[in-house]
């Protein structure tokens, strides 16, 4: 069976075209390196089901990062098997640079079709390409496309069967001269006026003006996230649970005589004869309310804001602005992307460390993220539980984590041998995000949360009940009392939250509520729960990304810094 590979430079729109071709939705954003792993899907070609593979972008056939290595290894394997056709996706507004990869691919003598993507944008930037002429020179089909609008996609599909080896012959050492000659024969440039976006451009990467712009962007994003999240909870999710779900559960509770094993497992302990969605700890109460009533609203609002930032093209610019500061931590500015993704969920955050070039950088970035960046599920719970104590409590939690992030980075940069490479990144043009694309991406992420997170929350709540019933939490609590109570000043029952934190951090934060902690203890516990260990989903991805030796090192750092910071907070506050 033939396979179709989508190959091209980073940020030329391969993932968007892939989604159009296959109907399989993958995350597409406006910055180079969104796709760090390949995705597969299928399309019908002449009635035959054909596999389509979206490959991470690469600028040349010499790898520069882990993601590029993946791309090149896949390409070489496919060439050897000789069973594939290759769609070379080109950014039509950057013909010259993109042809570099094209010509290298041509040397491999593989059947190709070229998609000239961002065709709609060429008009705005004053680029005119004669596709027929380009087709003649290269000897392969050339199809203008626009992934976001879907323009040209059906033509691309119908041209797939005409994929063939290029007839172009050139000397390897003359590659750039050849490219220059192709460009001058096929492309004409016309003057264009400065657009609105080019004006913001000047501001957003200006060394001084850039900082207030960045602060404004981040504060706006944060305010928006809180506002949307809070509103969803107050006006949608809480009323739904209270008005519709509570009567159902109460009815069931009465049927189960308000006590007993099954009652405790499904509904949990009633507080003053009523359900308390956070404290009851039943599968149908806390098990559903935590993921749906408390976390989901923030997942929705966070990913809406993130999607907007991703698609606008602002993130690499933010990377340039913070590059200097990040270098002090042993990573370059682009590492801000895994950190921001980690704020949503540490799993994609850990995967995104692949855009960093060296093992040293990946280690530092992944460790810092796993320790000091709480995921949105945990943050939402902290908002819900520490929030009522006022901004001071929240400030203490997130302020401490920020200080930990910086301090640990400074230390790691000194302790770990070697140097981290400098930033070297293409800055995509600003683009106005397509609303439909934003919503599609949001839905993908929300669906992922519902599918991956909710079952784990239910398993978590189930385990809590079993562990309490068997007296394991009390037992481990006694065992760890010197550490938990002696050093960190938390009640020994808090160990239950630490155990469940391996499964889900949101459930773990929720478990702190019945303990009746003081504000100080609540702050310490929130910080400790973030730092001590990643949840199991993140842990398994980190093992894959860092390999076992580095992961053991990272784990040691986590445990040590948790004890120091937990103890320190207990002492200071």
């Amino acid at each position: 069976m033939k396979k179709v590979f989508l190959i091209g430079n980073p940020n030329v729109g391969k993932s968007t075209i892939f989604s159009r071709l296959t109907g399989v939705h993958v995350i597409a954003s406006n910055y180079p390196g969104t796709t760090v792993e390949f995705s597969q899907g299928f399309l019908r070609m002449n009635g035959i089901k054909t596999e389509v593979i979206d490959v991470p972008g690469t600028y040349s056939l010499q790898p520069g990062s882990k993601a590029e290595e993946v791309a090149i290894a896949m390409l070489k394997e496919a060439v050897q098997k000789n069973d594939s056709i290759f769609v070379n996706v080109i950014d039509a507004t950057n013909l010259e640079r993109n042809l570099n990869l094209t010509l290298q691919m041509i040397k491999m003598k593989i059947p190709m079709v070229i998609a000239l993507n961002f065709w709609d944008e060429t008009r705005h930037v004053g680029v005119h390409i004669e596709t027929k002429k380009l087709e003649q020179i290269l000897g392969v089909p050339v199809v203008p496309t626009s992934g976001v609008s879907g323009e040209g996609i059906s033509q691309l599909v119908s041209h797939l069967k005409e994929a063939r080896q290029s007839s172009l012959v050139y000397q390897e050492e003359n590659r750039w001269t050849e490219i220059g000659s192709i460009v001058s024969q096929t492309q004409t440039l016309s003057h264009h006026h400065h657009t609105f976006f080019e004006r913001i451009e000047d501001l957003s990467i200006h060394p001084f003006a850039g900082i207030p712009v960045a602060l404004l962007v981040l504060i706006t994003a944060f305010t928006l996230i809180r506002f949307i999240g809070e509103s969803l909870i107050t006006y949608v999710f809480e009323p739904v649970f209270n008005q519709l779900w509570t009567p159902v559960v109460m009815f069931l509770s009465v049927q189960l005589d308000q006590s007993g094993f099954l009652h405790d497992l499904l509904i949990g302990k009633l507080v003053d004869g009523q359900i308390n969605y956070v404290e009851s700890l039943g599968l149908l109460t806390t098990g559903l309310f935590v993921p749906l009533g408390m976390v989901l609203p923030y997942v929705v609002s966070f990913y809406f804001a993130l999607g907007f930032l991703e698609d606008s093209g602002y993130l690499p610019r933010l990377g340039v602005l913070v590059d200097n500061m990040m270098h002090k931590l042993g990573i370059h500015g682009l590492a801000i992307i895994p950190m921001l993704l980690g704020v949503g969920c540490n799993v994609p955050g850990a995967m995104a460390t692949r855009i960093l070039e060296t093992r040293r950088e990946k280690f530092i970035a992944a460790t810092l993220m796993a320790i000091a960046v709480p995921c949105m599920a945990q943050t939402a719970m902290i908002f819900g539980l520490v929030g009522p104590y006022g901004a001071l409590g929240l400030g203490a939690v997130f302020g401490t984590l920020f200080i930990v992030w910086i301090t640990l980075g400074l230390i790691l940069n000194r302790v770990i041998k070697g140097e981290s490479p400098e930033i070297f990144v293409e800055i995509p043009p600003y683009r106005l995000p397509y609303f439909s694309a934003l919503i599609k991406k949001l839905w993908m992420r929300v669906r992922w949360f519902l599918k991956e997170a909710v079952p784990f929350v239910l398993i978590g709540v189930f385990f809590v009940n079993i562990l309490y019933m068997l007296g394991i939490i009390a037992f481990v609590g006694k065992l760890t009392e010197p550490l938990i109570t002696g050093i960190m000043g938390l009640p020994s029952e808090a160990v239950g939250a630490l155990i469940i934190g391996f499964l889900r951090k949101d459930v773990a934060v929720g478990m702190l509520v019945p303990l009746g902690l003081s504000m100080k203890q609540m702050i310490i516990a929130s910080v400790v729960l973030t730092m001590y260990f990643p949840c199991i989903a993140t842990f398994s991805v980190l093992i894959k990304e860092l390999h076992i030796r580095d992961m053991l090192k990272a784990t040691l750092i986590m445990v040590l810094s948790t004890v120091i910071v937990g103890g320190g907070l207990n002492f200071v506050l």
């Binding site: 950057n94 010259e96 640079r97 750039w176 000047d202 200097n324």
Partner: protein, 79 residues
Amino acid sequence: MECKDLTKITKNVDVMIVEIKGGHHFQEKVKAMGLRVGVKIKKLSAQVLKGPVTIKIGNTKLALGHKMAQKILVENNQI
């Protein structure tokens, strides 16, 4: 005509690359992004304290670290 590295030139002026220093790996890396001798570029901004330099080459914008920028020598070319 005098040639300077990218960190020392003024912003928003068209210049031409005359030399790229550094090892083979570095040369290949920047070449793949279109930076090579004879190409016209323009500096857009530079972050303070030896921060990254942003340049424009054709329709591509690139950010590169200070030390990398020092390896790229350009000449003012107002012909």
